[in-house]
């Protein structure tokens, strides 16, 4: 089955077996390059390690049929390299020692990226609970979520400050 997907801004044509998941075509190949940021943790939609953006919305790619992505835009961490918000989130996670084994980190980053983008559009700042809600689908066995939440809180605060400064300048 041929599938055409806009992957990280570029049109790609994939050969996928019927029933193949989006995770398996992104991660397992044979098409190169494999998107190694997209991790496999459970394949039942419960751990969030495989989180990607499908038309801008976070989904667990292990429970999305590859065929469902036909004609749609898929974004992974690889495609957000250089994006200022993603870069800020990555730096915050690293500086807060929120990356231990790092296996959950890309999934978490995609979820947080989406949250902060939405909040910025709405002009709001997510609190502790909103951040935890956004992360609730991303299981992490290493950190107890303390430092990831702190990192996200710090980025949210910076965004809010920037937002205020911009509003002031206007």
């Amino acid at each position: 089955m041929k599938i055409v997907v806009k992957l990280n801004g570029r049109n790609r044509e994939w050969e996928a077996a019927p029933g193949a998941t989006l995770l398996s075509v992104l991660r397992d190949g044979p098409q190169e390059p494999r998107m190694t940021s997209v991790k496999r943790g459970c394949e039942t939609g419960d751990c969030g390690a495989c989180t990607v953006l499908l038309d801008g919305q976070p989904v667990n790619s292990c429970v999305v049929a590859a065929a469902r992505a036909h004609g749609h835009a898929v974004t992974t961490i690889e495609g957000l390299a250089g994006d200022p918000l993603m870069t800020a989130l990555q730096a915050a996670l690293v500086e807060h020692a929120a990356v231990q084994c790092g296996y959950c980190s890309p999934g978490m980053l995609v979820s947080l990226y989406h949250l902060l983008k939405e909040c910025r559009a709405a002009g709001t700042t997510p609190g502790d609970h909103a951040i935890r809600e956004a992360l609730s689908g991303n299981l992490c066995r290493c950190t107890g979520y303390v430092k990831p939440v702190a990192a996200a809180t710090a980025v949210a605060a910076t965004l809010a400050a920037v937002g205020r400064a911009e509003a002031g300048a206007r």
């Binding site: 997209v38 394949e43 390299a81 990555q90 690293v94 084994c101 959950c104 992490c140 950190t143 979520y145």
Partner: protein
């Protein structure tokens, strides 16, 4: 005994939160884990697991599978030489029984290996599993510990093994321990009170988010390379060589980044499978467990039943303590003796008394395999002991904090049990040379508000506080050791090669900090290469909380040796005494007018003095200084539903002087999150037939961001003389105390003692009803 003296080099590379050296590439999703790089021509392996908990595998007909296009090979027991071994990743000679072969002729748990398929794609391998015809002779399944103990007509392991099954061929006992200090029975008769209770601990699973995964291939010299997500590369090489009848020289084990281990990867869960199939097919082979396989066929924390008997005087003096453990090792005896040994050894010394009795009966059953999991037996023992101390306090009518304060271990105390219980052999006695326990208790009490309990947040809720004390070890005394090699390059950078295994805890970073500290350079100048059996010196691996304390000692020694060499080169060039050469801030100097940068000195050494500054050092400690933790829970309970709301959790931990405080905190926070699951919701449920009822993350729930309470983590620094820079271990001790602290808090809230965890709403509700009657 080695005591580390303070180093001479300047600049603070240790004791600060530097950037974890691998963090950025992990956060960018770069191809750095085992499965991220696939060699050309790679085959995909799948395991056909037994549908029966106990069955002889009489015959396997793979002809239909082999006829499927894309299937390359199928292997089963008749084609694979049965060499007994243990899959436990422990030092040679392993204290675990040799009860395992690569492909068994009898399945001993549901999911046990029946056949291995390799195919050109994963989908074909999966499809082929359904085309393998197996003839089984189904045997009665032993899934209850007491039944396994009582029956000798059904044996999980029928063959007596000369290497360590306690009662091989005669009973289902995999390991027994019976050690006594003093005379507990006699002492109990003299006590004012004897308190006896029984505690039950569930089967839980490590649930690292990266499953077990391994890829092997033959390199251009025909040597076997195994790239794997492991905690024990060197043990793996040794075990693989023996069971595949290869030379160690012809095997290379490489550990890339690992997505969590927690003990579950201190075990050869699958490396023998990929290696076997590579040797058979001469092609690269990859195997990764599904989450279901993780929960049925990886390793679990040993379920235990613990009977605690404590003799105490009216004034609260503990006179005698007996801990009697019955444990379920499941189908194989990996870590059976040593995990259970730790249940007493790491726990009972908390309250030193003249009479201590520790008994273990560890049984084979047809349940999933138990093994190593962070804490390694101590969480079970700590739950029993610290629940029990609250019960003793209640009997005495004494404050539970006061009872602990009166009896807990102190500086200079010895721990007589350690001498009797080593790693499966006579151990070494232990004297406490550093402890921050008193301070931890004080700071923890303060942080939780021990003396000013908050009112419930709603009228229908009850509020309670609970606490627990814990201690662990720093490596295995006299057994664990590691080595490090340092080498200086002309730009002043250093290659540090260590066998030590970074599994996400950040040991590469911490070891780089220690190396830099000794050489007076910035940690960014250190390039760490870890865990490649071809290129790095030996290390036992990442377990028993040993890496910073033990492997760190090797790094410090190697760096010191290279520093001495450099001092000699410098002294010769500048004609000054080598003893006066000072290292710091990337510079080397002797007095105000003789100075070079490290890069200049390195260039001089390589091109003028024509010598390679380099050193290799090994380190072992005959001590295993315990880190200490005082942990506190603030809970609310809804007595109508039995629901428990964990509001606040405080950990005050003495892990010596941390090298990287942020990562030490991270160890504590992660351990607490795992232990919260242990206390409140995690349990691998196995039915009477031996089937795991909840083999996925929906039904086997681990803590999410929404399940976590407000967390307070306090580091209580102490200076441990036997640890480099005063360090002790941090990885395990904080996982011990949360379950008893939470359950003690529930009891404080509603007066119901839960002797069985997890404290699910149903159990709490029932216990409240019983307590009310």
């Amino acid at each position: 005994m080695t005591d580390f003296v303070n180093n001479r080099a300047g600049g603070a590379q240790v004791g600060r939160n530097v950037t974890k050296i691998d963090a950025f590439k992990l956060a960018r999703g770069e191809p750095v884990y085992t499965d991220d790089v696939h060699p050309a021509g790679m085959l995909w392996a799948k395991v056909l697991g037994s549908p029966h908990a106990h069955a002889r595998i009489l015959d396997v007909d793979a002809s239909r599978a082999l006829a499927l296009p894309g299937v390359v090979d199928v292997a089963w027991h008749r084609q694979v030489k049965p060499i007994l071994h243990t899959r436990a990743g422990q030092s040679h000679p392993e204290p675990s029984p040799y009860d395992t072969v690569i492909m068994p002729d009898k399945a001993r748990h549901m999911g046990d290996r029946v056949a291995i398929v390799v195919a050109e794609t994963l989908a074909i391998a999966e499809q082929a599993l359904g085309l393998i015809d197996v003839k089984y002779e189904v045997l009665p399944a032993l899934t209850d510990m007491d039944e396994a103990l009582a029956r000798t007509d059904v044996l999980v392991h029928e063959v007596a093994d000369p290497r360590g099954i306690a009662e091989g061929g005669r009973s289902n006992v995999a390991a027994r321990i019976d050690k006594q200090v003093g005379d507990v029975s006699a002492a109990l008769k003299t006590c004012d009170h004897v308190v006896e209770r029984t505690y039950w601990l569930p089967r839980v699973q490590a649930s690292h988010i990266e499953p077990h995964v391994a890829i092997s291939w033959l390199d251009e010299d025909g040597r076997l390379v195994v790239r794997t997500s492991t905690q024990v590369p060197f043990h793996l090489r040794r075990i693989l060589a023996r069971i595949l009848e290869l030379k160690e020289a012809d095997i290379r084990v490489v550990k890339p980044r690992v997505g969590g281990g927690f003990g579950d990867k201190q075990e050869m869960v699958m490396e023998d499978i990929v290696a076997l199939m590579t040797l058979r097919t001469k092609r690269p082979v990859r195997l990764e467990f599904t989450r279901t396989e993780e929960l049925t066929s990886a390793r679990c924390r040993h379920p235990q039943r613990i009977v605690m008997t404590t003799g105490v005087m009216n004034d609260g003096t503990i006179i005698a303590n007996r801990m009697n453990v019955t444990a379920d090792t499941g189908a194989y005896g990996s870590h059976a003796l040593t995990v259970q040994g730790n249940t007493g050894q790491k726990v009972l010394p908390m309250y030193p008394c003249a009479n201590i009795h520790f008994q273990v009966t560890c049984l084979y059953t047809n349940n999933p395999i138990s093994g190593a999991f962070r804490g390694y037996g101590a969480p079970q023992g700590c739950f029993a002991l610290e629940s029990h101390i609250d019960e003793v306090a209640k009997v005495l009518g004494m404050d539970r904090l006061e009872l602990r304060k009166k009896n807990h271990i102190r500086l200079g105390d010895t721990d007589p049990l350690s001498a009797k219980l080593g790693e499966g052999r006579e151990g070494l006695s232990r004297v406490i040379r550093s402890t921050g326990l008193e301070t931890a208790i004080e700071m923890g009490c303060d942080a939780i508000g021990w003396t000013r309990k908050r009112p419930p947040s709603a009228p229908h809720l009850r509020r309670g506080l609970g606490m627990a004390l814990a201690m662990q070890g720093s490596g295995i005394a006299g057994v664990d050791w590691g080595a490090a090699t340092v080498k200086l390059n002309e730009d002043g950078s250093v290659n540090l090669a260590v066998g030590a295994t970074d599994i996400g805890q950040g040991s590469d970073t911490v070891l780089a900090q220690m190396c830099a500290q000794e050489l007076g350079i910035s940690y960014e100048k250190v390039r760490v290469l870890s865990s490649d059996t071809d290129l790095t010196p030996f290390d036992v691996g990442a377990y028993a909380s040993s890496t910073t304390y033990v492997s760190g000692g090797a790094v410090v020694k190697a760096a010191q040796q290279m520093r001495d060499q450099l001092a000699g080169v410098f002294a010769e060039k500048w004609a000054c005494p080598a003893g006066d050469v000072v290292f710091g801030d990337d510079n080397v100097s002797c007095g105000p007018d003789k100075a070079m940068t490290m890069a200049e000195l390195a260039t001089h050494a390589l091109y003028a003095a024509k010598m390679q500054p380099a050193a290799t050092a090994s380190h072992m400690s005959n001590e295993s200084p315990p880190p200490f933790a005082a942990q506190f829970a603030d809970v609310e309970v809804d007595p109508e539903t039995g629901e428990v709301f964990l509001r606040r959790f405080v950990s005050a931990v003495d892990c010596g002087t941390p090298i990287h405080p942020g990562m030490a905190e991270g160890q504590i926070e992660g351990a607490v999150s795992q232990a919260i699951g242990y206390a409140l919701f995690e349990e691998v449920i196995v039915d009477r037939a031996g089937k795991v009822k909840n083999p996925n993350f929906l039904d086997y729930k681990i803590a999410s961001a929404l399940d976590m309470p407000e967390m307070v983590t306090i580091l209580v620094p102490t200076m441990e003389p036997s640890g480099p820079y005063g360090v002790k271990a941090a990885g395990e001790v904080p996982i011990d105390g949360p379950a008893p602290a939470i359950v003690n808090a529930i009891c404080d809230a509603v007066g119901a003692r839960l002797c069985r965890i997890p404290a699910t709403p149903e159990r709490v509700w029932r216990q409240i009803k019983e307590a009310g009657e």
